[in-house]
Structure formats: C-alpha cells, structure tokens
C-alpha cells in the first residue's frame, strides 16, 4: 500500500488523489433521512412503467403490420335461435358482445369487433394526442415561460397574465367549446388540449427560469461575458428542461384523460377507436351488466398508461430533485 501510494503521489497531486477518495465517500453529512433514502435509484416501478409504455407504443406504432385482428371488422357469429319477438327458430346472429375466448382474447364489443385490436387502435390515438399535446405545450409554453422568466419586466407581466387567464378558464369547457364548434380531428383535439398544457408548462418554465436565473451560476456566466441568448440556451434550458419534461409527462397523462373525457361526452376524434370512446361504448348499464369487459379492457389500458406516465414523472422528479409539485385534476 505504501508503495502504491507513493507512485500515485508522484503522478498526481495530492489533491486529485484525495478527490478520488472523496468521491467514494458519500458527501452526505447532514442529518436528513432523505439524503439516505434510495432516491437516486429509479427503482423497479420505473422500469415497469417504462416497459409498459414502450410495449404499448410499440404495439400502437406497428399494429398495422402485427398479426392482430382487424379492428374494424365485425366478427359476427351465427346460431340457430328463436326470434324473441316472432318465436320462430332461424339462423340468427349471436348477440355480441362476445366474451373473451381463444378467438378474441379480450372479447368483442357490441359490434362484434375484437376489443384487443380496437384497444391497440385506441392507443394510437391516445398516444398521438398525448404526444402532440405535450409537444405543443412544451414548445409554446416553454418558450414563452423561459423568455418571461429570464427577461422579466413587462414581458413577464404580459405572459404571466396570459397564463393566468388561460388557467382560470375552465379547461374542459374550453375544450368542449372548441371541439364542438370546430371539428373533431386529431389535430384540433391535440391543439385544444395543448393550449391547456401551455399555461402550466409555461408557468413552470417561468418559475424555474426565474429561480435558476437567480442562482449564481447564471451570474457567473454573465460575468464571463456570455450573451443572454447563450445563457438562456446553455445555462438555463438544460435546467428547465427536466422539470418541464416531467411536467410534460403529466401533460401527456392529462391529455389522454382529456381525450377520454371528451370521448365520454361524445366529442372525441371521429372515425377512430379511442380509449374514451371504447369505455363509453361499454359503460351503458346493460352492457356493463352483461359484458363488463367491453368497458374494462380499454379502461385497464388507459389506467396503466396514465399511471405509467404519472409514475415516470414522479420518479424522474424525485431523481432530479425537482421541488415543484405537479397536480393533475380532471
């Protein structure tokens, strides 16, 4: 040991030797439980959630070339049966929905369509809505928020007021208004939900920018002579991006729920199976009574996806120690 140390000592300065040692030692010397909790690992749940999201995204993207049943085809089965009204026995269609079976793993809906296929079809819409919404919110809200938070002054006041107005506007009503009066295309719905995401993301970006711009490293960059634009992009953006993207994940979750809510009110993307629509279709009293799977299968998918996004967001927030609390509501 002695020898080794000596050789080392010749090569590197004492301090860098020390530095090696030091980084091995956890530098947590405060008496705080949180310091010692396993927050720097993402945990099993994180990977589980990621796995689910990757799986569902994979299925959604590649569903056209995967060997699933045709989501739009009516797989009607027939049998000899008595007409309840005329009393005659005849070849009559078995009344769908059909329960889960080898043929239809997760059953069919009232129109004898394969629920698994339709749910995966629904994932396409839901994920697309989620992604577009988050993208819109990040780009518009993030840009506005960061500019407001960094340049402050009148710009900040104006942007802040805009955010406040949007926030105090009942979101779902706004969504219904726009969707009811324009059209029910994927884009309209995404943009509408995206508008709702702009204010929270923007406010977060603003707050984060504001608090980071008060941190000394920003001042340090300024004393180095960095221009504002450079500071904004090089110093602030990387810091704002993580909280923003964790919020964006929640925005995705909220957008998926929002789409579902709209669908539940009969206002979602037309001509496509969306999760909300599938749940709505199955949630009538008689369908629920006789064939709960029609509603519960898409609900399960929706739940897992929303929960995964929520959980990921939560874990990442913990991991990067983002202090803001995000709250979703619907």
């Amino acid at each position: 040991m002695n020898e080794e140390q000596e050789i080392n000592a010749d090569e590197v300065t004492n301090d860098s030797q020390a530095s090696e040692e030091e980084t091995n030692i956890s530098d947590s010397t405060q008496l705080e439980v949180s310091e010692f909790a396993d927050k720097k690992t993402l945990g099993f749940g994180f990977w589980l959630a990621t796995f689910w999201l990757v799986l569902i995204s994979f299925l959604a993207v590649f569903s056209p070339i995967l060997p699933f049943k045709d989501a739009d085809k009516n797989y009607i089965a027939y049998e000899q049966k008595e007409n309840p009204l005329t009393g005659k026995v005849q070849e009559r269609p078995v009344q769908p929905p059909y329960a889960p079976s080898g043929e239809h793993w997760l059953g069919t809906d009232q129109d004898a369509r394969d629920i698994l296929s339709r749910t995966i079809e629904g994932a396409r819409i839901s994920l697309a809505v989620g992604a577009l919404t988050a993208l819109f919110g990040m780009i518009v809200g993030g840009t506005l928020g960061m500019i407001a938070g960094y340049f402050k002054g009148i710009l900040d006041k104006i942007v802040g007021a805009i955010f406040l107005v949007v926030l105090s506007f009942p979101g779902l009503i706004l969504a219904i208004l726009i969707v009811a009066l324009l059209d029910r295309s994927l884009l309209t719905i995404s943009v509408t939900l995206g508008i709702l995401g702009v204010a929270p993301i923007g406010r977060l970006a603003r707050a984060q920018t504001l608090s980071f711009s008060e941190r000394e490293f920003v001042m340090a960059a300024e004393t180095l002579g960095a221009k504002k634009s450079r500071i904004l992009i090089k110093e602030l953006l990387p810091n704002v991006l993580i909280p923003m993207s964790t919020l964006a994940m929640l925005v995705i979750a909220v957008a998926i729920v929002g789409e579902g809510t709209l669908a539940f009110l009969g206002l979602s993307v037309q001509n496509s199976a969306t999760w909300g629509k599938l749940i709505l279709t199955g949630s009538g009293l008689s369908t629920l009574e006789s064939s709960p799977w029609v509603a519960f299968v898409p609900m399960g998918f929706l739940f897992l996806t929303v929960a995964s996004f929520n959980y990921l967001s939560d874990r990442i927030r913990d991991y990067f120690d983002v202090r803001d609390i995000f709250v979703t509501r619907d």
Binding site: N83, L85, T86, N271
Partner: protein, 569 residues
C-alpha cells in the same frame, strides 16, 4: 323527421311536420295481405314470411273495471324545449305530453281511419278543396275559455304565422283566406289543392288546440310555452325541466271520466336506464325504439309491450342540393356501399324488418318490386370512379369526400357512424359530425348537410307524407330535406291526395315508391319498431274512445292517449 338513431338517448321524430301524421286503412291493409299471399308461390312463402313477419301486436282494451286514482309515471326519451303546439317543434316526447294536455280535432281509429275527436264532424265540398268543421259544444279549456271557432282560428293562425310550424301549413291553404268562420261552432278550411283525406292532417300537432288566451300570452312571453293550457284530460301542474313535468286530472274532462290522479313525465335519455327504471317499478310506462330494450323487455313477464313497426322508417338521407350528392352517381354509390345487413344485425339485432321503401309489406300501397341495392360495394366502385373523374375537387385519393351527421351525443349514434363509415370507407372519405338534436334538425331544414341519419314517413295516411316531398316545400328552410324537386312526382302526390278511395291510390303510391327508389335520395335501413312498454297494472292504455264510442288507435310512433288509462294495483 328526426334522427336515425334507434337509441332512446336521442329523441326521434320531430319538427314542425310531425304535426302531420296519418293512417293507412286497415281494411285495405288486410286486402293487401291477402293479395300478397295469393300472389306468392307457396314454396317461397315460409322464407319470405320469416324475414318479413309483421311485428305488430294487437292493442287490447282492458277487461278490468277501471279504478280511480294513482299517478302514472311515464319515461320520456328526451326533454323538450316547449309544449306549445303552435310554436314548438314537437318531437315524439313532446307529442306524448301534448296528448295529456290537449285534444286533437281528429284522431285515428283502430283501423287507421280518421275520425272526429275534439271536432264533432268534418265534411268536404265535392272537389275536396273546402272542408267544413263543426265543433262540439260546451267544451272549455283548462283556464275556462270556451272552445269555439274563434279559439281554433287563433290556433290556426298562430301556426300559420309561425316561421317553422307554418312551413307545414302555409303551402296547403289558400293564401287569401285560409279559414272562414261561419259561426261559433262552424268554420271552413280552404285548401289550395284537392285533398279528400284532409282531416288526417288534424290528428297530430296541427290538430291540437290550445287555449287562445294562453297562446296569445305565450306569443309575448315565450316562457309560457312550458305551461300548456288545453282541453285535454290532464291539467298542467308543474314542470322542472330535465326532471319532471306533472299534469293532474281534469275533473271536467269533456270526454268522460279520467281515472288517473296525475301523469308525470320523466325524461330519461339513456335507454338502458329508462328500461331499468321501468323494470324496477320506478316508471310505469315508456315508449322506445331501442331494439335492445325491446328485446329484453320482451323476455320480462311483468311488462306488456304494444309493438308497431308500420310507423316511420329509418334511413340515411342525402342532400341533393349540394355536392357530391347533387350527382345521382354519388347517391347511387353510397346506397350500394351502405352495409345495411350489418346495420340490421348489429344495431337492430335482426329484430326489426329491413326496409326498401316507406311502406311495410302489409300496407296496400306496398310495392313488392322495389329492391334497394344496398350491400353491393361491387356496384359502387365504377360509379365513384366516374364521379371522381368528373369532379376531382370533391374527391381525395379517388374517394368522394362526404360529411355524415347524426344527432347525439349517443352511444348508438356513434356505433352507427362507425359502422357506416367502415362500410363506406372504400369509396368515401367520411367526416362525422355529431349535433344536438335541434341543431341537427336546423341543419337539415337549411340544407347544410351531405348525408344525415333520419327517420320519417310511414304516416298512417300516406298523404301526410307529402310535406316531405313536394317541390313547394323547398325554400330557405325546407321540409323537403333532400331539396329534391320533381314535378312529375308532385303531380302524382296531388293526384293521390285527390283520390277518394284506397283502390285509386294504390297504383299511385306504388309508382311514388318506385320513383323515390330510383332517385336514390334515401337509403332505407329498416322499419322503425316502436314499443309502448307498460308495467303490470297499467291498464287500458288502448281503451281511449271518441265521444261516439269509436276506439282510437292506441299507438302512433310511440305516443298514446291517457284518458282511459288506469292503474289496477
């Protein structure tokens, strides 16, 4: 008119013109059935019968002794925004409530003949252009105003002048002097065209007479539309919109004893829920076209259903005044592409009967030669190609761009839209639009639509259905929803109106059906099956009679009379 939607979650037949309903004569109907049977080859008979078995259940009078008392709780499929026959566009639920508070001047008897009801008698001039009506004496409205010709004229003029209801009135009466008051009880109606079956026009909304005082007041204060005052068996008591509208017994009803203490109408838009409320005894009766409900009620012994599918037809309606359906090739193509079999299997559980025309096979006017070529996508392709090469602007990637509207939101509506779009997908790019019912009807009336789910025709007297077809019905707002004008067809209709007997009318209406079929304006799905479902103990719904003792037709598109009903338990 109305939506195609069989679910009860949207209300169906509606609009001003619902006021005009009529009947087919049952004698004629029987005759036709016989004729049909003799014509058919015996070998084919069974199959034919199986597919086309009539599902009309006979109405019965109660054998029990009527008892007084009780409240009848009636489930409606939707709330209405007013119950004023002169101003509101009454849909099926509206007409149901109307029957509690108002009486119509005429009504259909069990055989489908028009008989005087609130009026004492009708008589026409020889050319069937002037009709005289005599009112019964001594009838008063709930507010004490006497029923006289003055009152009727106030009603008539209010309807005539109403921008919407007037559409079903103005074109058919002389513009100078539509009515002439003779004395307190006698008056004349002056028609523009000969119509030997005119009183049937007074069996619906247009025949319902409200108190003139109330009508005048309601014109100033439209909120009074919610508080009807008529001559009917029940007097309006209270109304909480979307919850309950309550009428109480009219002790001085001119038509005799009224047994129930009160009738309450509960709008419950979800068919499942309404049915379940009925099964649980929370409701006593409902009318529905929801096939699932009908099937499940049929299996329940404690429910009696009065079924009838001779009423209106459900179909897809095309707007011939707007591209692309101004081109018959597009209309033909969509007819061929429509998956009617799937529709009937999935939406109607194959319980209802497929329709090709507005008459059921039992009708004397039924034209057995007419076949609508749906479910034939093979025929659609060439037509679409041809259309698109002529009108590239209305096509995208070789498919015709169309819009499909239905009234909602409704689960069944959504399912139908999915099903249809799926069937059309190879030839059409479909944009689906859901509209609340009133907007839905408005857009139809204004012709701002491509294709729309709808329900109408099948009036007991087919003459009534002319309002949907005549060229003169086309205007800024139009009841000729497809905005299709054919003068030959008009001539045919007027000829049928002027005909006095069924025999004269048969070839005319058969020809009319053929013309409609060839114009491809309506893609018929099925004959709407109406069910009046009553829980055990609700008795004698079908026992209403005129003062003269003629039994009235119990169910017309889901509505009935309340004066004879009593609750036995």
């Amino acid at each position: 008119g109305g939506s195609d939607d069989d679910s009860s979650s949207s209300s169906d037949s509606s609009s001003a013109s619902e006021a005009t309903e009529s009947s087919s004569e049952s004698s004629a109907s029987e005759a036709a059935e016989e004729a049909e049977e003799t014509e058919e080859a015996p070998a084919e008979e069974e199959a034919e019968e199986e597919a086309e078995a009539p599902i009309v259940q006979d109405q019965e009078e109660s054998v029990l002794e009527p008892v007084f008392g009780g409240t009848l709780r009636w489930g409606l499929e939707a709330e209405v925004d007013g119950i004023n026959p002169t101003a509101s566009a009454l849909s099926a639920p509206g007409l149901t409530m109307m029957n509690a508070a108002f009486d119509t001047l005429a009504a259909y008897d069990v055989d489908g003949n028009t008989v005087p009801h609130l009026a004492e008698s009708f008589s026409s001039s020889a050319d069937c252009k002037t009709w005289s009506m005599k009112l019964r004496d001594g009838i008063t409205f709930h507010d004490g105003t006497p029923l006289n010709t003055e009152a009727v004229s106030v009603n008539f003029l209010a309807q005539y002048g109403d921008p919407l209801v007037g559409l079903a009135v103005r074109p058919y009466y002389s513009a100078d002097e539509p009515i002439t008051i003779v004395d307190d009880l006698n008056m004349n109606f002056n028609l523009t065209d000969a119509n030997c079956n005119w009183p049937s026009a007074l069996t619906g909304q247009l025949g319902a007479i409200g108190s003139p005082t109330w009508i005048a007041a309601a014109q100033d204060d439209p909120t009074l539309d919610q508080q009807p005052v008529g001559t009917g068996p029940f007097i309006f008591e209270s109304r909480v919109q979307d919850q309950v509208t309550r009428f109480v017994r009219n002790a001085n009803y001119w038509g005799g004893d009224v047994y129930l203490d009160a009738v309450e109408f509960y709008p419950v838009t979800d068919g499942d829920i309404r049915t379940s409320l009925l099964l649980e005894g929370e409701l006593d009766a409902q009318a529905t076209t929801n096939v699932e409900s009908i099937a499940s009620l049929a299996e329940n012994d404690s429910i009696t259903q009065v079924l009838d599918d001779t009423g209106d037809e459900s179909f897809l309606m095309l707007n011939s005044s707007k591209a692309p359906f101004d081109d018959i090739r597009a209309r033909q193509a969509i007819t061929h592409a429509t998956p009617r079999d799937n529709y009937n299997t999935l939406i109607n559980l194959d319980v209802t009967r497929k329709a090709d025309q507005m008459f059921t096979p039992e009708s004397p006017y039924y034209n057995p030669d007419i076949v609508q070529l749906s479910d034939r996508p093979d025929l659609a392709g060439p037509l679409v190609d041809a259309y698109c090469s002529d009108n590239p602007n209305n096509c995208t990637s070789g498919k015709i761009n169309i819009e499909y509207q239905y009234s909602g939101p409704s689960v069944v509506g959504e399912r139908i839209a999915d099903l249809l779009s799926e069937g059309w997908a190879d030839f059409f790019n479909v944009t689906v639009q859901v509209l609340p019912q009133d907007a839905h009807i408005q857009e139809a009336a204004l012709g701002i639509y491509n294709s729309i789910g709808w329900r109408q025709f099948g009036a007991v007297d087919p003459g009534i259905d002319r309002v949907w077809l005549l060229c003169r019905a086309i205007g800024g707002i139009s009841l000729n929803w497809p905005r299709y004008c054919d003068e030959d067809r008009d001539a045919l209709i007027l000829q049928a109106d002027a005909a006095a007997t069924t025999e004269e009318k048969i070839p005319l209406y058969q020809e009319l059906s053929k013309m409609i079929n060839e114009e491809y304006l309506y893609v018929f799905y099925h004959h709407t099956l109406w069910s009046l479902a009553l829980r055990d103990g609700v008795e004698n719904v079908c026992g209403a009679k005129t003062l003269e003792g003629v039994s009235l037709r119990c169910q017309v598109n889901g509505r009935s009379f309340f004066q004879s009903t009593f609750i036995a338990d």
